[in-house]
Symmetry: D2
Subunit: 293 residues, 4 copies
């Protein structure tokens, strides 16, 4: 259910609150404060006004607000006592299907975090893989309170920016999507390599899990980006290209087995809203890659 | 126990047979025939004389000779009824530690092979990985008898060439060893990359098994080749280079996580006696490799 | 003065001839034959109909037609007795400003050619550099008559296709333009390199002549292709990139003088209607290029 | 005429002075001071002892010593009133064959330099090309006196280190030679490229002058380094590789003309005593280079 910025700019407070009130986890006062600032010239301006309400609240209010966020992978999510958005976001990264052991580990980290800071660990899960969420936990737990308070608010910024961008249409929707693309050049032939099978893996717990597969088109690119229309989850990835099949299909019998058969390109994503272009230049006997544009 | 070519050239038949008679599996007549051709100008000439005896024998003798080779991973090897060389060679590739399931699979393939050709499947295991032996089985089983007979004799050539090269010292020892080497160039700094941790994996049954690890020296090379002093086993490999640690040690904080952290270079070996030089040129944002020299 | 295909399809013969009659050098019968085939579904179809008239004419008519083409760089061009199109095309490649010595050389080659084949040397100059025209002369002079007749007609095809594409608007204009583009990636920084000065040289008579210069934009590309809107002249080229200035502007003092300061990429163009993408990947200590897409 | 360190360590002062006295331009007191420090454990120690004498002399003595160095390309060199070493060194870089105009330019710069600092411009010409000497002049002229005094003494260090290394044999001869090498890998074939013609150019006055040519051997390297047995002159260079001929010889007809025919690699040398390895990896459609080791 989306709503247009133009309509929002006209709404009474109850309608406005009904439309965007659950953007900020159990904090109707955020929408109230934003409502007073109408009209907004852009969706980004609406989001910044809501964030301004958070940043200008008293420390006690802020801590109470942070405290209402659900435990990541916690009991609340299991029992359903969270907003629909929270539940959906946590499922997207696999936090709803943790093993008992993983659940226990998350729970233990979260308890330590909550005990230290007085509010639960908050992270924008859509910008992360399971591995990088765990790394965030380990990295952020030693922070001092001021650092961590700022980090938690910044994560609220990311979480709510995504919610607003998904819900409100109109001018100036914030840029929340990244893009992962590739291109296969056959520098033995001096041409793009068509028909090359590509698999995309994400590293999770030391293991590579296949999260997608595609084939290059006539220009050596893929018809659709490998990942698009969402933030690129921070994490480690590997692209695997079946270049041996490509060269065999060109009738080039380099050796048996082929020197390069499946070429893996391993890389990490650290800018979820960025464009990662990871091309492959290859011959039967060499290959190279680089972060392109 | 090695013996010099000079000594062999002087030996009586019994001494000669005792020294090199077990090179050819349960075929003392091969050494006898070779003994008559003394003296040999090179170790290679000795080996070729022995092979000539095999090639000039009657077909019945040849088939009987091939038939005396032990089943690969077979009952004979388990019961100890093979030459010491055979047992050692089969152990080197892990054929002595097959699971029951793998043992059954090898056994089944070998039975089909023996039923079809009248002699067991012969392959120079020192030139192969477990994976490539299995591929050989699958590739060779459909051969016709003439092709497969020629292939079996060629494998005897490889097996016995290794045995002779290990046993006989002197002039003209045949070249039986390959070499796998690498070199890490940091093209961000324009210098070799020292201290880079490298791991070498062999693919076996779809899984990568670590078979070695090392660290680059001041020239970006390794003090010892990654594999040397033996044939390079035909198979699929992956080198993994910890370039993220290298750049972090240079104080270059490219991103978090680093775009390239562990760089995998995947390649196959098809020439066991060849030199494979697999260098890595890298920056924090790009890398390339090629078959060098 | 352009004319639309729709209008041509409606025209009487005199109007049609006035509009496109001089496309084929002094051969009004070509337009006449084409006029009878109206209407045309595409500009390409119009051109092919005109070429069909040439190809279906008697050999004597064809030879007479070829014979009416001006000597390349010949007396006719100097005296003005050629079509405006011919004069303009020959000027575009510098044939109107030959030195006396070059003029004599062209004249000598052309006399030998005409003596051998009975018609002057015909080449679509817009698809060539001065150097490649001279190479064409040397390569084609030893041809036999059948080969050369076919080559001359093919060149008439190229010449007239360009004239038709320039003159007639509408559906299905033939693709006559090529494109030369570049892209500078700084793989030291993992980003496109903006602000890099680029010069383009054409080799003529063993010397490199600068024919253009530009600067990369924020994406490391150039706002306009290096060559576009015309066939890419067959010939040898060099791009020179001021990468030393780029790295100095980033504060990277690699050495004095910089290991790579001006990077030259030398390449040839053999497909005038093709897309040549010639990118540069560079660090202060390395660079690479490839034919991209 | 060389002399051994062992002999020098035994010599009386007159013999010692006769043997190495002219190492330091018209400064017999340097050899005298060094003679008192015998014996030397290494040739480097001998040279450092001589330099210590220079560094410990009074400022007036030092300035007088620097003042006795000949004008670079000056009248003295023409008239023969300099040491044989000086004359030979200046000839090696072409300073004895300057045009009248170049002679005038050098003379003018040298007059300005001498007027400002009270001693002539001193540079170790063996470590430079003509172009870089001119650049040194322009760069050093604005220096203040202390900077320039230190620079002049450092150049004396380089000049005399070369003289000592050429004259004295024995233990610990200082490392004064650099090395320029290359390697051509054909990554289309996965092999070194043999028989590739290579030309080496030095940029002088904006023009590239050919200073050497060679051909790759079976390993894709050159039998001799491109430059060795001397310091590498600081300057700008270009290697040109005839890769088009190489691929044509392999029967690969990529296009006409070949996309890459002559590949130029342009680079600068800034460390005269360094090893510059400048390899070429190429296919008919791509190439790359890097500073190797």
């Amino acid at each position: 259910m989306t709503v247009s910025l133009a309509d929002l700019n006209q709404m009474t407070l109850p309608a406005f609150a009904a439309a965007v009130g659950d953007t900020f986890e159990l904090a109707p006062w955020v929408a109230e404060a934003a409502h007073a600032k109408r009209p907004f010239a852009s969706v980004t301006a609406l989001h910044l006004a809501m964030m301004a309400a958070v940043r200008q609240a008293s420390h006690a209010t802020q801590v109470a607000f942070l405290g209402k966020h659900p435990d990541l992978a916690g009991k609340a999510a299991r029992a359903g006592a969270v907003t629909e958005e929270s539940r959906h976001e946590q499922a997207s990264v696999g936090l709803d299907t943790l093993s008992e052991e993983e659940f226990a580990r998350f729970h233990r980290l979260n308890d330590a975090y909550t005990a230290k800071f007085g509010f639960p660990f908050i992270v924008c899960v859509r910008r992360h893989t399971r591995d990088s969420i765990l790394q965030q936990f380990e990295r952020r737990l030693p922070n001092d309170e001021a650092q961590e308070f700022a980090t938690a608010v910044q994560e609220v910024f990311y979480i709510t920016r995504l919610r607003i961008a998904a819900k409100v249409t109109g001018e100036g929707v914030p840029q929340v999507d990244g893009r992962l693309s590739t291109h296969v050049l056959d520098t033995h032939a001096g041409r793009p390599a068509p028909g090359v099978a590509i698999e995309l893996y994400e590293f999770a717990g030391g293991r590579a899990q296949r999260i997608g597969s595609t084939v290059t088109n006539a220009d050596g690119r893929t018809d659709q980006p490998l990942i698009a229309g969402r933030p690129l989850p921070n994490g480690r990835y590997e692209l695997q290209f079946a270049v041996g099949d490509h060269f065999r299909s060109r009738g080039i019998a380099a050796a048996e087995p082929a020197f390069h058969d499946i070429v893996p390109l391993r890389f990490s994503i650290a800018e979820p809203e960025g464009h990662y272009h990871v091309p492959l230049l290859c011959t039967p006997w060499s290959y190279s890659t680089y972060r392109g544009s």
